[in-house]
């Protein structure tokens, strides 16, 4: 049972405070903020307690979303709830920021009243809720170059937002009631890949977690299908699975707003090779310097490209400076002493090509086995317009056929989650 819910700004300002069970006073808000800001990096921040009161919180949109409980309730329930609440607020207010929460406080209180009663979670479905909610959302300014929260589209934080108007997906669901004619549906396929490649070049582990997210501004029901081969998947409750097993069609009646309709995982057997390979040569020269010659190959199809590739190479203790030879001027590399690593940035990396870099590392006092201290190399990247599992949405059919124009957007993106190449 949830005892209280409150939303704090990152500076600790009270934005929303609602007490459901009268079990603790509002002074706990301050207690929470003290505790959360005093946490060190290695302490699990999930559950904190003061006496009989337990705090569970998540961070979304730069805000603390906090629930307290006195009983032995489920942290899963509370965390899921807080995430849903944040999503609901985002759906209803258009975007998630300190400002939008502040101006829409009356709406959020009303939402909270319907979503939780006496600590029991009632519903978080925006379809059900729209029957009860009276307050209209107050939109913050539609789009501003300075307001970066508007640029990040829902789901993926991609900068390749050419596929859809950047502010299209960040409007409140309810305003679509008035806009009437214009119905839009966005489908995003977002995948995160984890790869471990051993020092001998053998792929030790590949794991892709993906999800299909739908954001819908339709006045009424719709459905869509996908053809997939996946290991494990779970579905949103609005999904009808009748045709999934036979013809891989998902039929769903999405509520207004954003939701994840399907999550899936694929391990070890990807249809294509992992996108990057590294061939490192590391040796010590006569002057005691460490020479690292890295050849990085991108095995994507030639038409695709990876963007924002960042290669992190941990270097031995005692490294002081690095001199570099990179194969093109738009790349850059830097030695970060704090994290003891070289960061090599490649803004765009076309499929089927190969890049190389030579780093010469000066060190004041190398340990006895500096070569052991190099690596593993970690890659971070983004693959726009590509789902590495090969998952494709073949068709998106709305039924019954909508009157008036309707727009459908389907986007794919793959992110690196943990792409490690051992050397």
């Amino acid at each position: 049972m949830i005892s209280q819910v409150f939303i704090l700004s990152s500076q600790g300002d009270h934005l929303i405070y609602k007490d459901f069970r009268g079990e603790a006073g509002s002074d706990v808000v301050g207690v929470f903020y003290e505790k959360v800001t005093a946490l060190t990096g290695d302490q699990p921040p999930v559950v904190m307690s003061r006496g009989d009161l337990h705090f569970v919180h998540v961070r979304q949109g730069g805000l603390y979303w906090v629930a307290t409980t006195t009983a032995d309730s489920s942290p899963f329930t509370v965390i899921e709830f807080l995430n849903r609440l944040a999503a609901l607020v985002k759906d209803y207010c258009g975007s998630l920021s300190e400002k939008s929460v502040q101006v829409n406080f009356a709406l959020i209180y009303e939402l909270l009243d319907e979503v939780v009663d006496y600590g029991y979670i009632q519903t978080t479905s925006s379809d059900v809720l729209k029957n009860f909610i009276q307050t209209e959302a107050v939109c913050s300014k539609p789009f501003s170059l300075f307001d970066l929260t508007n640029v990040g589209l829902f789901g993926a934080e991609t900068q390749q937002s050419k596929v859809a108007p950047s502010s299209a997906a960040t409007r409140p669901v309810q305003s679509s009631r008035e806009q009437g004619g214009k119905s839009e549906i966005f489908v995003d396929v977002i995948e995160r890949m984890s790869v471990v490649i051993g020092s001998d070049g053998v792929v030790m582990k590949t794991d892709v977690e993906g999800e299909i997210r739908v954001k819908c501004f339709m006045p009424s029901c719709s459905g869509y299908g996908a053809s997939v081969r996946v290991d494990e998947c779970s579905f949103h409750e609005a999904v009808r699975l009748d045709e999934f097993n036979s013809s891989r069609i998902l039929r769903l009646c999405p509520s207004q707003g954003e939701q994840t309709v399907m999550q899936y995982q694929l391990s070890d057997e990807l249809p294509s090779a992992p996108p990057f390979r590294l061939h490192p040569t590391i040796e010590r020269d006569s002057g005691g310097r460490l020479l690292m010659y890295l050849k990085l190959r991108c095995d994507l199809p030639p038409k695709s490209a990876a963007i924002n590739v960042c290669v992190t190479v941990p270097v031995p203790r005692g490294s002081v400076s690095v001199s570099q030879e990179l194969s093109s001027p738009d790349q850059s590399a830097e030695l970060k002493l704090q994290s003891r690593a070289i960061e090599w940035n490649i803004p765009r990396f076309a499929g089927g090509t190969q890049l190389s870099a030579l780093f010469k590392l000066d060190a004041s006092a190398l340990g006895p086995a500096p070569l052991l201290e190099v690596g593993p190399v970690v890659l971070a990247f983004e693959l726009p317009q590509l789902a590495v599992t090969g998952l494709q949405i073949r068709f998106l059919r709305l039924s019954p056929v909508q009157p008036g124009p309707s727009q459908r957007w389907i986007r794919y993106v793959t992110h690196s989650d943990s792409y490690v190449i051992r050397v």
């Binding site: 209180y109 009243d113 009663d117 086995a369």
Partner: protein, 984 residues
């Protein structure tokens, strides 16, 4: 115009302005004003002064405005109860509104107004709403019953709302069912014995039907409720499992975990050979794996739960090792949790893979993580024997990196590997010795010293190595000092000729220059052993050590069972039972897994030492303690021992040293004539006991002194006692040793007062591994409760506190329980608690019964014990002769009671002396016809005088005693005390 203006700061007269706006005619203006009021409320300003004005806005047909007003009411009704009543009429009216939204809103808000007065108005509307045609209203009303129950439980019962609520479980709307279940579950928790949530196959069936239809949150309520049900047989269990399994693929992780909880519990009842059992095991893995793709917060919570599940049923995830490999971008708390699970899943089949991973981790940047990874390699070696060799070579590779903290961790774990596989990997010692100089952490230094001492015969320059440590002896931590002492003694026993000087040096450092009692004790023990019987010393010090157990940090099985019942809750994240952190009665019900249908309770899920520890009957120990107590107090009866009695006395004196503290030097003085330590006939048993500190990490060296002392005493006294000593560090035995040791200390007290041996008050079985034994003594006018607390659980205990129930003489702790350091597993600690007699009084039966509550970080435990009434006899209990005479006459004869004390062979003189030591004073003595009449008085701490006439006839072992007291209830206890004192 945006709403942000509501948050502008307080101006003068703001309240006044708002008041005017609230009373405005324009609806829009009113609405804006109420919004401003609520905005002020949110930021914590007091706007309660506006209560009447806001309530005035309540009667409106604008739903938005109405909701805002209700929001305000909920917040301030408590501080303005009289005003709240003003709103009641509107509430009642709204409950009749044609719009179901308004009906529900009214009943919901009324329930949230936590004012007693409002409850009576709430009953009628609530009754109607519970039967409302609209499910939205019904589900709101169902929750309202729980709210009302919290304010006034009696009212809810009287009005019959509980029955209505039970009917709602059969409602057609799943949302209503879910809320009714949630409300009933909560109400039932406050009445643990009621049959409120009467779960029978019919209701279960209804719940399972509703499960498929209701929202995800409703599913959680229903699943949690199902988890409390105990199926009648395995068939019912299977059918419920079948209907719950589809929930495992739900996207909401809370639903998944609640389903896992139900399945884990009901699985206990399924026979293991059933096909379905295997199917179920397979189905459980994917959802757990999927949880790991969530955000780090959920991942962490999921990992904590998986950690429990893996301990209970490792077979579920045995093929999923890979998903627990850490990602470089995992937060550190997730990484550590994953590491722990990796070790638990490690087996011969996957060990190569695991080791390769761990080796990678050991080169990462994060120091904490690297340390844990190195330790993990050691744990793998200990757990999977086939991998030991590979682990050792991996560790050697890591030592080659010369990274300081890696080397130190590696040495610590290699020591454990030596313990587990003696005489196998000693070839690496040379490599270890190369790193001697770089060790700066106590644990690593201690480990290295242990290794040098243990293998001194194979290390040519062992004496030089140890000597180098000795230079800074006093700057070392206790751990290192103790280790160094033991190591040098070992070295001496192995190479006596060249190390005599060294050993003398360390012994004098330990015994004369150190303030640490543990170190001193251990020093003396070695000293005496060496000076009296080097052969025995060799057998004790160089004894074969018991193997260390495979899994060092398993959760105790009973706790694990309870935690499995709480999967998906806070308890599973803290790994503590809910009673440890949830207040009051709610959490006290301990949940247990149902017994398996096939083999019954006897089936123990985790074979191994952990289960053995808790199941070993602790009752054996007290009886040994009593035996020794008898031996010490009465004339020693050698029939029970094969060895002569002195060993007991030697153990006793060693114990006494600890207590006397200052008297040490004088004792040291006659070192030339040390007391005989006759470890002759029986050394074969004693050396097998653990007395070397390089043992599992949870075994603290600070108790070693106690162990060894008790050890020799025990070995001697119980030559014929248990033939098979435990091979691992078995908790009851070391507890027993401590008991013996303490006993010695007690008897060694110079006062010669009667000190019965400690009795076990709280057996470890009843207190999650905490064992308390104790005794009451009176010293210098202060009543002391002397206790030995022994941790027989697998985890560290801390935060001890003690409380007494009210009792006959107002005994209460005079200060807090002084246990400042956490109690490690297998460790014992002595605590003396001074008592006062000014606490609250309540007559107990028997009179001298005392109910005690002891709290620690795990739980609160209760036990009761009886104190001898003589504890309460104060020192100034000697009455004037005249007063005695007058009082004796004054007390009516009805208050006199007579008792016989049989078989007492003391003469009156001796009896008188003996009684005096218990503060029973003889005032006069008369001899009539060969019969001695002793007139005695004593005074209880609460001021009650007891007068006694004791008749002793020469040659007759039976005494007669008459007691007179204004409070005759105490007579029985006083008589018992006489009997106890005289017969000892």
């Amino acid at each position: 115009m945006t709403d942000s203006k509501y948050f502008t700061t307080t101006k003068k007269g703001e309240i006044f302005e708002l008041k005017a706006e609230l009373n405005s005619d324009k609806k829009e203006k009113k609405k804006e004003a109420v919004k401003k009021v609520i905005a002020s409320m949110t930021v914590g300003k007091d706007v309660s002064a506006l209560f009447p004005d806001v309530v005035n806005c309540m009667q409106t047909d604008n739903l938005e405005l109405k909701k805002l007003v209700y929001l305000y009411l909920m917040n301030y009704a408590k501080s303005q109860p009289d005003m709240a009543i003003m709103a009641v009429n509107t509430f009642v009216k709204d409950c009749e509104d044609p719009n179901p939204l308004i009906r529900a809103l009214a009943v919901r808000t009324m329930g949230c107004i936590r004012v007693d007065k409002i409850t009576e108005y709430l009953c009628e509307p609530l009754r109607k709403c519970l039967k409302d045609e609209d499910p939205y209203v019904r589900k709101t009303a169902a929750v309202c019953v729980a709210k009302l129950h919290d304010i006034n439980a009696q009212l809810v019962e009287d009005q019959g709302f509980l029955d209505t609520l039970k009917d709602l479980i059969s409602d057609s709307n799943p949302m209503v069912v879910a809320n009714a279940v949630a409300a009933l579950s909560e109400i039932a928790e406050s009445h643990p014995n009621s049959n409120l949530l009467d779960l029978n196959p019919q209701t279960i069936n209804k719940l399972l039907t509703a499960l498929n239809e209701c929202t995800e949150w409703g599913q959680i309520f229903i699943l949690d409720c199902l988890a409390n049900y105990t199926p009648r047989d395995d068939r019912e269990s299977q059918s419920i499992c079948e209907r719950v399994t589809p929930r495992l693929s739900h996207a909401n992780s809370a639903v998944v975990l609640s389903a896992v909880k139900v399945l884990m519990k009901f699985m206990e009842m399924l026979p293991k050979d059933l096909d379905y059992y295997g199917t179920l095991l397979k189905k459980l893995a994917p959802p757990l794996v999927t949880l790991l793709s969530a955000e780090p917060e959920l991942q962490y919570v999921a990992l904590r739960n998986i950690n429990l599940i893996v301990q209970r049923r490792p077979e579920i995830l045995k093929h999923e090792m890979k998903v627990f490999f850490v990602k470089y971008n995992d937060p550190i708390y997730v990484k550590l949790e994953k590491l722990d699970i990796m070790i638990r899943l490690a087996s011969q089949a996957n060990i190569a893979q695991v080791l390769a991973e761990l080796k990678e981790y050991a080169t990462e940047v994060d120091v904490d993580f690297v340390r844990k990874a190195v330790r993990a390699i050691g744990r793998c070696a200990i757990k999977v024997e086939q991998s030991a060799e590979r682990c050792v070579s991996t560790l050697l590779d890591l030592i080659q990196t010369k990274v300081n903290y890696v080397v130190q961790e590696a040495i610590v774990v290699i020591k454990d590997i030596f313990r587990k596989y003696p005489n196998k990997y000693e070839s690496v010692i040379a490599t270890l010795c190369e790193n001697l100089d770089s060790l700066d952490e106590p644990e690593a230094r201690a480990a290295m010293i242990w290794i040098v001492g243990e293998y001194a015969e194979r290390i040519d320059n062992a004496d030089e190595l140890l000597e180098s440590f000795l230079e800074g002896f006093h700057d070392e931590s206790t751990q290192v000092q103790l280790q160094l002492l033991t190591a040098i003694v070992k070295l001496f026993l192995k190479k006596p000729t060249e190390t005599q000087e060294l050993v003398q040096q360390v012994l004098s450092l330990a015994t004369q220059d150190s303030d640490n009692p543990d170190l001193r004790d251990r020093g003396y023990i070695y000293w005496r052993l060496l000076s009296t019987d080097p052969v025995a010393a060799k057998e004790v010090v160089l004894a074969e050590k018991p193997l260390i157990s495979e899994e060092t940090d398993l959760i105790e099985p009973t706790l694990l069972e309870e935690l499995i019942c709480h999967i998906g809750t806070l308890a599973s994240v803290y790994h503590k039972p809910p009673s440890a952190f949830v207040e009051g009665s709610r959490g006290v019900q301990h949940k247990r897994l149902p017994g398996s249908a096939g083999s019954g309770e006897s089936e123990s899920p985790d074979p191994g030492s952990a289960a053995g520890v808790t199941e070993a009957p602790p009752a054996v120990i007290p009886s040994q303690g009593d035996l020794l107590g008898d031996l010490l107090n009465l004339d020693l009866t050698p029939t029970t021992t094969t060895g002569p009695p002195p060993p007991a006395s030697s153990g006793m004196q060693m114990g006494a040293m600890d207590l006397l503290g200052g008297g040490l030097d004088s004792l040291m003085g006659d070192e030339s004539e040390p007391p005989p330590i006759p470890l002759r006939t029986d050394t074969r048993q004693s050396p097998r006991l653990p007395h070397q500190s390089p043992s599992p990490p949870d075994y603290s060296p600070t108790e070693l002194g106690g162990d060894i002392g008790g050890n020799s005493a025990m070995g001697a006294a119980f030559g014929a006692a248990p033939a098979s000593m435990p091979t691992s560090f078995n908790a009851p035995v070391s507890g027993g040793l401590d008991d013996l040791f303490d006993l010695g200390g007690g008897v060694g007290m110079p006062m010669g007062a009667l000190n019965p041996p400690k009795a076990v008050w709280l057996p470890a079985m009843k207190a999650k591994g905490l064992e308390i034994s104790g005794v009451f003594v009176r010293r210098a006018g202060v009543i002391q409760m002397e206790m030995t607390l022994t941790n027989k659980a697998m985890s560290v205990m801390s935060d001890f506190a003690i409380q007494f129930n009210r009792n006959s003489f107002g005994l209460a702790p005079a200060g807090p329980l002084q246990i400042l350091t956490p109690l490690s597993p297998n460790q014992s600690i002595e605590a003396a608690l001074p008592l006062s007699t000014v606490g609250p009084v309540m007559k107990m039966d028997p009179l001298n019964n005392l109910q005690v509550a002891v709290k620690n970080n795990i739980d609160v435990f209760y036990f009761s014990c009886q104190y001898p009434i003589s504890m309460l006899f104060v020192e100034d209990g000697k009455m004037e002769r005249q007063v005695f005479l007058a009082t004796w006459k004054d007390i009516p004869n009805d208050n006199e009671s007579q008792f016989q004390i049989k078989d007492c062979h003391l003469n009156s003189e001796a009896a008188s002396n003996k009684l005096q030591s218990s503060n029973i004073f003889t005032i006069a003595k008369r001899t009539v016809e060969g019969q001695d009449m002793l007139y005695q008085s004593m005074k209880l701490a609460n001021g009650i005088w007891v007068l006694a006439e004791l008749r002793v006839q020469a040659g007759n072992p039976n005494y007669t005693i008459s007691l007179k007291c204004r409070a005759p209830e105490v007579s029985q206890s006083v008589f018992q005390n006489y009997e106890a004192v005289l017969k000892n």
